[in-house]
Subunit: 208 residues, 2 copies
Amino acid sequence: MTALKKPKSRIGEVNVERILDAGLAVFARHGYSGARIDQIAETADMSKPNLLYYFRTKEELYRAVLTRTLDMWLKPLRELDPARSPREALGHYIDQKLAYSRGHPAASRLFAIEIMQGAPHLSRVLSTELASLIETKKATIRKWIAEGRLANIDPYHLLFAIWAATQHYADFDAQIQTLTGKTLADDEFFEATKLAVKRIILDGLVLR
Amino acid sequence: MTALKKPKSRIGEVNVERILDAGLAVFARHGYSGARIDQIAETADMSKPNLLYYFRTKEELYRAVLTRTLDMWLKPLRELDPARSPREALGHYIDQKLAYSRGHPAASRLFAIEIMQGAPHLSRVLSTELASLIETKKATIRKWIAEGRLANIDPYHLLFAIWAATQHYADFDAQIQTLTGKTLADDEFFEATKLAVKRIILDGLVLR
DNA sequence: ACTTGAATTGATCAAATGGTCAAGTTCGGC
DNA sequence: GCCGAACTTGACCATTTGATCAATTCAAGT
């Protein structure tokens, strides 16, 4: 809506990139209000006025960081493939989401914090871009159910369960690390997690 | 550890209660830094200096709110009953956690935000109280597995999946409401959610 | 080398905010 | 009714922090 930044040179583009990275790290760790421009600038290796030269306000920077985050968040869902079997497609989706949790934990947390605080900056995007994407994927899921290849579950709850279980490993990393001593960064734990999540959600816990 | 508040009269106790409620609401919506003492005081219907009379610093109030929150969070897990069947016991646990998400969404979000930001105020409690409780429950789960009544899943991943799926409905309420138009406050949606979560986690999605 | 616009920063401002304090009011036991 | 302790508050202070700006440096094209 409002005009954002437009770097005029190569060096400008590099700086914008550095600022976005720094902003993501600091916003995710301290929240919007807790993040200080000084700290973001320092993380990005530049002075505060210089940062404000690229993003005129803290709010503008926050929105930019958030937009970038949401794009990454949406990507795996776009790839959910109706042509494959539900086990393959959903399994692949879970793998992709867990890879995202592993590769971009700060982005996952920032997104989560934003939504938990009422999504004041995202509500528009959620109700348009995400909602229409979901609409498409609902059809895919319903098709699988109609074919008798999937339990008769409301597509929403299915997606929520997958989102929750996969994002949990990034968002609650501190808790997981305290309890298990491990993180998704650990290769073995990452593989074990992929198997466990797929087993729980796709196959269920209770033996019959 | 540090001495906290100790109301000396009946009116004092009532005020402390009001402040804790107000603090929970405001901290959950704006995070620690974003919450303003003025706003908490106003929500609790008192002046800022009066609030500071009961809690000497913002930090002290925050810790008090957080402690209370964690106690509520732990309660359902304590009740996980090894004597019942896994389907009954885990099903009951899921129901309890969803009831908590419905009844105390702000507490759920505050707890989540705190952990996502590295649990700076909770790490001690997590590694002691929660860790030892988990140790007990791990035995219960392993017993069920040994008896062949539960799939062979690492107890940690089992608990994480349940926590994630149930808390999601409180924590991501804004997103859920945007997409489905409903909240756990809606009776029908609440019942449907309980069934869906139990079906997904206990029975799995893929038909065999 | 010169010019022009982009990039950079030290100094500074204004507003917001956590916290204090002295002074006043209310409450509960006697 | 009296009295001390608990409670309440308007005014105020110190610090933090988002944002501005004039002045300087840097980079690229000619």
